[in-house]
């Protein structure tokens, strides 16, 4: 798997080598958001979040569970409207799902009534690509993912790790510039997880897509990313930003043994620990009216 070649020429790092000074891939300006609650005051989820993610960066966002990480990602994706603030993707203000943005969910989100092949090619189908070309492209991509021979299987016949790889293939077949990932490996066992992390890094090294990777796993965040953002407990605000100075190309396993890994990890954990504690104690220290 690790030796596989990208299926699509456009994956080669042409896009990543964009000239500096161009608009950042993703830009959030003073995002705030609250969810309406049945018979109660609204719950603030995001509080004044500003972030910029330059093209080609691998950005991890970490925070205690339930803090609003996924909400932030859904807002960037254009699936949710922020109450206040602006999101720009590739310089354009977001007003719905952007064709250059791919999204990978924690669950595989595959359509159970479609075979692996027709799941992978669905975006091409929606775009009106001819059947023959669709099949050819998805077969080739599945091949690079080591999923040849499973084209006609249904999702329930695959293991969790394989389903997540199919899901990744489905996202990548459209060749998005920006990849939003919402704890994509959280439901996998730790070995499969490590394996897929490495696989993701290999793909990323080659394509240098912009990645925003949400996780609650500190080791995962540090070992994958160029930069880690730490969010507070709800309502989420930016607590800490940490550049990760680990050599590239990396492997997720080797990165964990690097001396500066521990350094980054403990700096982040010091802060994260407090937020986790707050979440567990159910405090609402940031002026939420609930």
């Amino acid at each position: 798997m690790a030796t596989s070649r990208p299926a699509d020429e456009s994956w080669t790092p042409t896009k990543a080598a964009q000239s500096p000074g161009q608009a950042p891939a993703v830009e959030c300006e003073r995002l705030s958001m609250a969810f309406a609650r049945d018979g109660g005051s609204p719950v603030a989820v995001l509080a004044d979040i500003t972030l910029r993610c330059p093209a080609g960066e691998f950005l991890s966002v970490i925070g205690p569970s339930g803090c609003g990480k996924s909400t932030l990602l859904n807002v960037i994706a254009g699936l949710l409207w922020p109450g206040e603030g602006v999101v720009r993707v590739l310089g354009q203000e977001v007003d719905g799902p952007h064709p250059r943005v791919g999204y990978m969910f924690q669950c595989d989100a595959l359509l159970p009534w479609r075979t692996v092949l027709s799941n992978v090619e669905i975006s091409l189908e929606l775009a009106g690509v001819e059947k023959k070309e669709r099949h050819a492209r998805s077969r080739e991509l599945l091949n690079t993912f080591g999923l040849s021979g499973f084209e006609e299987n249904y999702p329930h016949q695959l293991s969790g790790g394989m389903r997540q790889r199919v899901s990744l293939a489905r996202t990548l077949i459209r060749d998005p510039d920006i990849l939003l990932m919402d704890e994509p490996f959280a439901s996998l066992d730790s070995q499969t997880k490590l394996f897929l992390e490495d696989e993701l890094l290999t793909i990323w090294e080659r394509s240098r897509k912009t990645v925003i990777f949400i996780t609650h796993d500190l080791d995962e965040a540090v070992s994958l990313a160029d930069r880690v953002l730490l969010l507070s407990s709800r309502p989420a605000r930016l607590m800490l930003e940490q550049e990760i100075e680990l050599p590239r190309p990396r492997s997720a396993t080797e990165a964990r043994t690097h001396p500066s890994f521990q350094h980054h990890r403990s700096l982040l954990w010091e802060q994260l620990r407090k937020e986790v504690l707050r979440t567990m104690q159910g405090e609402r220290p940031y002026g939420s009216r609930a």
């Binding site: 859904n74 994706a77 799902p97 989100a109 359509l111 009534w113 669905i122 249904y154 999702p155 329930h156």
Partner: protein, 277 residues
């Protein structure tokens, strides 16, 4: 309310506990042996005059009568009528119910406005509508079709709507991120997701369509299985009541088997079901 399909989605997909492999022939043998045992003891009880044939008839007279009624063409005629009425009611009811369910899914406000009325209608024993229907359209086929329709349509509506409500919003979001518009969501998600729910509804509906047709015939008719039963009942003819019932049962079993085959074909994407009847 809705007859839920066996909800074997992703969550139970990895379930290891499979039903033991169907030992097809052995099971069939046991089933036939059970039937034979029932028939033999029935016949035995009647022959030894423990039970009176007048009250319970007997397998031998049933078969004799069945063959005779087949030969004189009365059984095929009346069964055909009832079958036609039920199928017409089933098809129309399913079409209207399924369309209504999808309409509700599309316009949730419509569903919310109409919900109490549909629930009220649903709690009414629809069979009690029969006299009204007969006043409106007479004792012809139409009143039976309408009765079957009224039973089937509500079941199909409720089931289809429940199916559309159970769609995982993550699937919808995933497809939107892959370039799907509203119409695509309906074709690629809502429709295929609802198929198991529709089938669960259809299987219940087959029985209800027969009920509608036969009850309609009881209340006033000149043809059909209900008419045969009603006439035989007036003459205290137990065999005459049981033979049309037998025909009806055979038809229902056949239709159910047909439906299961179709369902299996359409739903081959689902994980194997446990203990499905």
């Amino acid at each position: 309310m809705a007859a839920a399909p066996d909800t074997a989605g992703r969550s139970t997909a990895r379930r290891k506990a499979r039903a033991p492999a169907p030992r097809g022939l052995r099971l069939l043998g046991l089933r036939l042996a059970f039937l034979l045992a029932c028939l033999v003891s029935w016949q035995g009880l009647v022959s030894t005059e423990v039970l009176s044939e007048f009250w319970v008839s007997s397998p031998v007279s049933l078969v004799r009568r069945f063959v005779a009624m087949l030969a004189d063409g009365s059984l095929p005629l009346h069964t055909g009528i009832t079958l036609g009425e039920s199928l017409a009611g089933l098809v129309l009811g399913a079409a209207v119910g399924i369309a209504g369910g999808f309409l509700f899914a599309r316009w949730e406000l419509l569903a919310e406005v109409l919900e109490p009325y549909i629930m009220a209608l649903n709690s009414l024993p629809r069979v009690a509508l029969a006299p009204l229907l007969i006043i409106w359209v007479g004792i012809g086929l139409l009143s039976k079709i309408m009765l079957a329709f009224s039973l089937v349509a509500v079941i199909m509506l409720v089931n289809t709507y429940a199916g559309t409500r159970s769609i995982d919003p993550v699937l919808v979001n995933a497809l939107r991120m892959l370039g799907a518009r509203q119409r695509d969501i309906f074709v690629k998600i809502t429709l295929p997701h609802s198929v198991p729910w529709i089938f669960a509804g259809l299987r219940v509906s087959v029985a209800f369509a027969y009920i509608g047709a036969v009850v309609g015939e009881f209340l006033g008719s000149t043809k059909g299985i209900g008419f045969l039963i009603d006439r035989a009942s007036g003459a205290f003819n137990t065999t005459g009541i049981l033979v049309p019932l037998l025909a009806l049962m055979l038809l229902a079993v056949a239709l159910n088997a047909l439906m299961l085959r179709l369902e299996k074909r359409l739903l081959k994407w689902r994980p194997p079901q446990v203990g499905q009847l």
